[in-house]
Symmetry: C2
Subunit: 316 residues, 2 copies
């Protein structure tokens, strides 16, 4: 299939999944009256509970935006194993909850101090800092509650495997460690190996979970999970290089967040070290390499191959 | 048994458990060289990884202090079911990780803005705000990783039950919601029902997990779990009243944190509404009521009865 039809197919699939993820998040997030699973026969309280402000902030941080790339990887992986869509969407919603919590906390004044995200005020700007800290905490906690629920899979061993994978990817030896690394390295120029390690922690680990989760739900073998991890590592790096290129070449209106921040901060990135052309070539090479790890799946993995191409062609 | 010997027995048991919890946390928390489970034959890296700062902050926030009351409740409950000590300590360490994360985030300038905790500078004072946010995030995530590990129980259904219980207790409809409620209510006086609801969310829910976790590990029946929940609700409220009394009567040096804050802030508490004497009587009555829910366990629950008395007699 040529690039045009493949891209159309991918965009249709991504937009369908994004809609389904939105519906799932809408269902999972607590709402104003404090009831997570509304019982039809119970009267709806007239006034929201006082803590409803944190529900609102959680919903604001998660709903109505984003490419939902991580849940899409979960769903695409799950489809290769014939996993029921609802289970894939729950495992996908969990990683999106973690991704959104990390954005809320990373945007805080004490961290990256960002005021714009997905073209809207960041959560601490729209609400306040305390509410943003709590909303992030609530989202992270909810991710694990969602995975532990029997609706995610009837085998608790599989639910525990997902929880372990997400906790490792998100924790101090994964994403949280990556953010710490990033802050700790602000005053010195990193070399290429250090940047690769930083990015693997900061964004790569959540991609690892996303690429593995569908296969875990489908009862994949160790070898299959290893192949998906290799795919996701290349994908994650390509994604990051594309992000660095967007930070230089992107348009703030299209990208939906402040651009040029890395260059302004004198931060070493793949692009500042390699240059634009070599960085673009490296990303293309990583995408080919990513796809090569999926040979075992033959055409069942076409969507994952399309995603890899998409992450370096995206404009936002 | 009279109050004296009972208190001695309790203090010995609490101090032994606190030591074992410390050792378990020491083992579970990541350390400087980035290796969570050091492999003896692997060479130890010469320099710590750049993100080791967040490991340090996590260790600072968790190690070397605290009564470890919540893990003690887990262990005391587990002992009633003959649960192996190591499992109980893991389930106890998980709630302590969550408790410590909540203290780190609650102490932040945007939240309660506290500089002293357990007689030491709070985490954001000792490190910085960004590191404190990340340390809290890392601790919360680690709690779920610990529970999902087969070392916590070989039945993954029991691990999932613990994860669900902890996530609900800690999340937006539990502790996080309680903190939001507290912040949202800062500018108005709450009545007694509202304060009870606030405290149930803010501190009671983690007590519920703590009192149930040992029984969950021991395969308790629904009725037994319900009895323990009733016990823990009375215990949690008695604990909070005792906390309010300490805030008025306590000595900053002994208590290890700033006292008199609630009164200075004009905050309604059990004590400000009921008065000191009635509050003390209420706490005593709650302690008796808490113990009465444990009749089913007869003398197996003696330690839990002792704890209930302890929480209103403590000086710190």
């Amino acid at each position: 299939m040529g690039a045009g039809p493949a891209l159309n197919r991918l965009q249709a699939a991504m937009s369908e999944t994004a809609q389904a993820v939105e519906t799932m998040l809408e269902h999972l997030l607590p709402s104003g009256n404090g009831s997570q699973s509304p019982v039809p026969e119970a009267p709806v309280p007239e006034a929201p509970v006082p803590e409803a402000r944190v529900y609102e902030a959680m919903r604001y941080a998660c709903l109505g935006g984003g490419k939902r790339l991580r849940p899409f990887l979960v769903v695409a992986g799950a489809d290769m194993y014939g996993v029921p869509r609802d289970r894939a969407l729950r495992a996908g919603a969990a990683v999106e909850l973690v991704h959104c919590y990390s954005l809320v906390h990373d945007d805080l004044p004490a961290m990256d101090d960002d005021e714009l995200r997905r073209g809207r005020p960041t959560t601490h700007i729209r609400f306040d800092e305390a509410t943003a800290v709590l909303a992030g905490d609530g989202l992270l906690t909810l991710a694990f509650e969602v995975l532990a629920d029997p609706a995610t899979h009837d085998d608790p061993a599989i639910r525990c495997a997902l929880i372990t994978a997400l906790a490792r990817a998100a924790g101090a030896q994964g994403m949280v460690g990556g953010q710490m690394f990033d802050l700790a390295a602000e005053d010195r120029a990193l070399d290429l190996d250090e940047i690769s390690r930083l990015q693997n922690l900061k964004t790569g680990q959540l991609f690892n979970y996303s690429c593995a989760a569908g296969a875990i739900l489908g009862g994949a073998s160790k070898e299959e999970l290893d192949a998906l991890t290799l795919y996701s590592q290349d994908l994650g790096l390509a994604f990051q290089i594309a992000d660095d290129l967007l930070d230089i070449e992107g348009n703030e209106y299209e990208v939906g967040k402040k651009v040029g921040k890395d260059a302004d901060a004198g931060k070493a990135t793949f692009v500042s070290i390699l240059g634009v052309e070599a960085a673009r070539n490296k990303a293309t090479q990583l995408v080919e390499q990513a796809s090569s790890h999926l040979e075992f799946y033959s055409e069942r993995a076409d969507l994952l191959r399309d995603v890899a191409r998409f992450v370096i062609e995206r404009r936002t």
